[in-house]
């Protein structure tokens, strides 16, 4: 069977999407591959298909628990049984079981934290893998959007000699990040496939306001006049709740979504959104990965994203069906200060370094800083990693340069806010690429009429929350599907 037949056999698709065939061929030839495909293009297939061709397990290193869970769910839904996720959700006995039978799986998903654990490492070294995949590989680079020290150690773990080929996947890596990935993973002259990051069907709008109230008012008005489905990204949990309440009062079917919600609640929201009983989600950046909704028409940024790569990822949720979609960047005076502030929250300060040393000398666990609420968990992870790598004064230098980096990242987003010429060009340049063609209604600077892209809001369908069901009817409908 040739590749196309295999594609059809295992996935039921008739055609490869751009890049998939090239990447799969190189992987099968045993080459290291770096693939840059835009959001929603089908990166997962680049390792899923080889998984059915090779006879040894594929190891997928995945940065986010929710993302990993989603990939596992998708495969299981396709009736793939030989898939396992090694992450902190497993208890001791589940983990032991999974490790014992590791060789038998086709797809092994693993979080970076797990990967660096000694017993896991040993086990992985003892079995034969066919391919190592790094999904969302931009996370490796320290300027990537979610700094994860454990990611930096993947290179140490997979080693240099006698290892299976590595496939690094990302939608949003800059040239610098690509260089970092290659270096940290010790990739050997990787075959690199770079698809344009541009998503021509996503039209880039922008609005600038004097103050937050004006911005909010305009947004509420806009949402009540135009058609969804859509996502509003904002920075804090409490803001997701406040905005969604305002929209609910306007009779808009919406809900908030953030990392502090229970897993069950998050699934309910995703399911409602996909089923179409919700038109809008007001979310922090916890929402996005693993949401397979094809017809999202609008993505609105109520707050500034903390860097351009995040912005790209988030607007990339729109228009996966290839039809026109609108990305709206809203800005009010001094929003960048807030974005910088939020970014800093994930970074340890010099004071934290001193405190870490103090506890260390007192022979106390520095981890208690997290319990005492002196530092956020992410920040502590970064701190602990570097304190193991470098002497204290060098850690301080490191942190200060990270801080500069974060501030710079927000300023890069500000260039989009201030852009006088094409925003699309700016975006694409950021990733070191050039733009070949501009779509009509390209962006705010080139000229954009929202009416050309988004329909006016149609009917007001009934809100799930207002639907009133007697509890007996509900359980009856659920069970009997009458």
């Amino acid at each position: 069977m040739n590749l196309k037949e295999l594609l059809h056999k295992h996935f039921g698709y008739n055609e490869f999407r751009p890049g998939q065939k090239e990447v799969v061929e190189q992987v099968l030839a045993g080459k290291d591959v770096m693939a840059l495909l835009p959001t929603g293009m089908g990166k997962s297939l680049c390792y899923q298909l080889p998984g059915y061709i090779f006879n040894q397990p594929v190891l997928i290193i995945s940065p986010l628990l929710s993302l990993m869970q989603d990939q596992v769910d998708q495969l299981k839904k396709m009736k793939e049984k030989r898939v396992v996720a090694l992450n902190s959700f497993l208890d001791v006995s589940q983990k032991r079981m999974a490790l014992q039978t590791l060789q038998n799986y086709r797809f092994i998903f693993i979080s970076p934290e797990m990967l660096v654990q000694e017993n896991v490492r040993e086990k992985l070294n003892s079995i034969k893998l066919s391919l190592i995949v790094i999904d969302e590989a931009h996370c490796i680079s320290q300027w990537g959007f979610d700094f994860r020290p454990d990611y930096l150690r993947i290179g140490e773990v997979v080693g240099k000699e006698n290892r299976p080929p590595i496939l690094a996947l990302s939608a949003t890596a800059t040239e610098k990040v690509l260089g970092d990935i290659e270096r940290y993973l010790n990739m050997k002259e990787p075959y690199t496939y770079i698809h344009s990051v541009d998503r021509p069907n996503i039209h880039l709008g922008r609005r600038i306001f004097q103050n937050r109230e004006d911005k909010l008012d305009w947004m509420l008005e806009h949402v009540s006049k135009t058609e969804g489905p859509g996502i509003i990204y904002t920075q804090s949990r409490s803001k997701t709740e406040k905005i969604s309440e305002r929209l609910l009062q306007l009779g808009i079917r919406c809900a908030s979504y953030h990392g502090g919600m229970e897993t069950l609640d998050r699934q309910f929201i995703q399911q409602q959104f996909i089923e179409g009983s919700l038109d809008w989600i007001v979310a922090t950046n916890a929402f996005g990965m693993g949401v397979h909704k094809q017809d999202v028409r609008q993505v609105i940024h109520e707050s500034l994203p903390s860097n351009v790569a995040n912005y790209m990822q988030e607007i990339g949720r729109a228009g996966r069906d290839g039809k026109d979609a609108l990305a709206l960047l809203l800005y009010s005076d001094a929003d960048e200060d807030f974005a910088k502030f939020v970014g800093m929250d994930d970074l340890p300060t010099e004071g934290h370094v001193d405190r870490y040393m103090e506890l260390h000398f007192q022979q106390l666990q520095p981890g208690m800083m997290v319990q005492n609420g002196e530092i956020s968990e992410t920040a502590f992870r970064v701190l602990a990693y570097w304190m193991h790598q470098l002497p204290a004064h060098e850690v301080k230098e490191k942190l200060s340069s990270m801080k500069t980096g974060k501030i710079k990242a927000v300023e890069e987003v500000m260039e989009l806010v201030h852009a006088k010429s094409c925003m699309r060009e700016k975006l694409v340049h950021y990733f070191g690429q050039t733009l070949n063609a501009k779509p009509s209604d390209c962006c705010q600077c080139c000229g954009l009429s929202i009416e050309n892209i988004i329909l006016p809001r149609q009917t007001t369908e009934k809100n799930v929350q207002e639907e009133s069901f007697n509890w007996k009817d509900r359980i009856k409908n659920l069970l009997l599907q009458t």
């Binding site: 207002e466 359980i475 009997l480 599907q481």
Partner: protein
């Protein structure tokens, strides 16, 4: 509001003899000797471990609100006093029934199983056997797979039977219709997603915290109903497997209990287990609280038991120090034992 009411009731029962943090530990179900003994001494079984995930911040906020409304006064040493306003609040409002002592958060395990069973059966009815399980816990998934198989879901009759059991058992519950709806809204199935806490809160015009509490209280009542009539609820009863805690003794205390039941004295147990006498006594107090058959007279004479009870009545306190001053010939251990068993004397 409900949350405040619960806090008030707990503060009231503690009678100002514990610090402002004590209700927090109680609601979280802290497995410390102090908290467990307090449950017995102050009769707080129903609230134990009702909110295992309660954030300190949320708790502190609720306390601040009570202070602001002049219901509670926080004293300098971390203790507190209830105001007259509190007393009238306590009289006016009724609190929810809970059975925290016996479920300790396990009600969520029952619900997790139920929700996956319902989701599976819902998809089966729609002839859609491929779906993404709403419960991610591998153990729950395995449990449900096994449940479905042993109950012959392939025959296609499980839906109707389960429906009947759910309707009958919930109809027997003496709770508001809204509370039953809340629980049903947390279930999902084919093309029907459940509602989030935020959505239910918006729909029912109650705070999320209160919704959560009503939900837990309803699950406790429902579980009690199912377990009381095991024979009538063949399927639901299976879902309660290992959900109710029957001998809720801490690990170490249960070892002591074992020895004690085999006739060893406190001194002997202390020697055998190489633990301090006071620790063994803690265990005995815990045992006394939990074991209806526990015979206290082997430690305290009947007349002394009566004296302790009278002292409590007279002084309106359960403070050991005060009681010990009044009855100096009794040991702390003896007084604690009586307090732990106090419930039985009252009723």
């Amino acid at each position: 509001m409900i949350f405040q009411q619960i806090l008030l009731e707990i503060f009231h029962k503690f009678n100002g003899e514990r610090t402002i943090s004590a209700p927090y530990h109680l609601l979280k179900g802290k497995r410390s000797g102090q908290t467990i003994q307090d449950v017995g001494i102050y009769h707080l079984h129903k609230y134990f471990g009702v909110l295992p995930k309660l954030a300190r911040q949320t708790y502190d906020k609720a306390i601040s609100a009570l202070v602001e409304e002049e219901i509670l006064i926080v004293l300098q040493d971390g203790f507190y006093k209830l105001t007259n306003k509190a007393t009238s609040h306590l009289q006016e409002n009724k609190t929810l029934p809970f059975d925290g002592w016996h479920y300790r958060g396990n009600e969520h395990l029952f619900f997790a199983r139920l929700s996956l069973v319902v989701q599976s059966l819902s998809h089966q009815s729609a002839k859609q056997m491929s779906f993404i399980p709403i419960q991610k816990d591998e153990q729950v998934q395995q449990w449900v797979r096994h449940f479905l198989k042993t109950n012959h879901y392939q025959d296609g009759h499980l839906q109707q039977k389960l429906l009947e059991e759910i309707v009958m058992s919930l109809e027997n519950l003496n709770v508001e219709e809204e509370a039953k709806e809340m629980v049903m809204l947390r279930l999902s199935g084919y093309k029907t997603a459940g509602l989030t806490w935020q959505q239910i809160s918006y729909k029912m015009k109650l705070s999320e915290m209160d919704i959560g509490l009503i939900y837990i209280s309803t699950l406790h009542k429902w579980l009690n109903e199912i377990l009381q009539k095991k024979d009538e609820y063949f399927l639901l009863n299976q879902l309660t497997e290992a959900v109710r805690v029957n001998i809720p003794l801490s690990g170490s205390a249960s070892q002591t209990a074992e020895l004690f039941k085999n006739g060893y004295s406190v001194e002997e147990i202390s020697r055998i287990r190489r633990l301090k006498m006071s620790t063994i006594e803690d265990h005995i107090v815990e045992l006394a609280m939990n074991e209806p058959e526990f015979n206290m007279e082997q430690f305290v004479a009947k007349a002394d038991i009566q004296r302790v009870i009278e002292a409590v009545d007279e002084t309106h306190t359960r403070k050991l120090k005060v009681l010990h001053q009044m009855l100096p010939y009794l040991t702390y251990f003896q007084i604690r034992l009586v307090l732990a068993r106090g419930e039985r004397f009252e009723s």
